[in-house]
Amino acid sequence: MIAALLEDKHLEELLRARVRQLLESGQISLFLGYERQESLPGILPSSVPCIIRDPSDVARLVFDRVCHRSLVKYLLDLPTGGDSKERRAGLVVRGCDSLALQRLIQDHRVSREEVYLLGIPCTGMVDKRKLSKVYPQSPSVSLESILDDTCLGCDTHNPVIYDELLCEKVSEAPSSVVDFVQVRRLEALSPDERYKVWEAEFSRCIRCFACRNVCPACDCRQCTLESNDPGWITKHTSISEQFMFHFIRAFHVAGRCVGCGECERVCPMGINIGELNRKFMKDIRELFGRDNPKMPRDVEPLGKFNPDDPEEFL
């Protein structure tokens, strides 16, 4: 049954017990986790982020395969100042979350001492769009068939930073992201055809900024997209402005994107923003060699150079 595919009761119990201990001992002052959203029978199950401050509330915590939202960006909204120990936050991190958190730490937006990380090796989250096609009646559905595409291509199942792991590490299967199938398909088209593809995608954009808000690489204190001077974009939704918006967003995370796929999942209009990020990922690997995003202090590719970089402009 689908419910059994989605849940892991044992892991949930472990999580609740550990969070209770941490809160009671005062090691953390709050915990960022997920809780089950009330849903009617036949409606898709959903887990939403929640903040637990009281140890008696830990029963609300869940962890299953529909915990989509990454929690790390919420850290930026927590109050700052004062003793960092007193406002230490705990949170669960999967592989992609840990890369995202590392990005915030590298950008000095979060300090490592401020967070206590419960690592959960993750074997993938479920794609809600795929799930909705088989839910609730599902005699035989394989987990593989409803997993999120980003998770299917994941090469970082295990968290790269954590304070403790809640379960055994899983083996890192060879990633299919390196194939960049969609990017290559688009590259094979003519410029006019490609323009039509992106025109169709971008014209659906409602400029809700959800992709920016959710992105761990988009962590500037002041965003150029909200600036009136220089006003790179206005409130027009002409196709020209849409191209500019997506150009700016994609270029600003080039070499910084951790490939978590949150921007694609969060987009209410289903725009395949990820193919822009993956294009940069592919080119950076081809031109400058592969950076190891798992290294904690690696400078981003556009923040450094090599005198022997490819020369095409002579």
Binding site: L186, E187, P191, D192, E193, R194, Y195, K196, V197, W198, E199, W232, S238, I239, S240, F243, M244, F247, I248, A250, F251, A254, L276, K279, F280, D283, I284, L287, F288, P301, L302, F305, P307, D309, P310, E311, E312, F313, L314
Partner: protein, 142 residues
Amino acid sequence: MSQHEQWQPLIVAFCCNWCSYAGADLAGTSRLEYPPSIRIIRVPCSGRINPQFVVRAFQRGADGVLVAGCHPGDCHYSTGNFFARRRFLLATRFLEYLGIEPERFEVRWISGSEGQKFADVVRELTERVRKLGPAWKLRDAV
């Protein structure tokens, strides 16, 4: 003369102050001939050129865009053009990925003594863009 031959493309060039702008100057003082299609915007360094400038130029009427800076190793600020090189290796590919014809956008290193090269680059770029016709992609619909 057909209408297409009469049409003069508009090329926006971002030239670094220390090399490429001096190269353009040399082309002028040497009385070298090149098409009047070009509008030069002088910037302190090729490292100053944000790829958004290129998109903005296409939005506001450019048919082609040239980015020019000092040769790697010659930068007045030592390393600005090395950063620019990485940035524009990606930007050229990304603009192409979005559907802009690669012929419309060019990055070249032009030193202060390369007046002839400046004139040649402008002539070649202008001819390529002329063959493609007016740019309409990314254009502001005003």
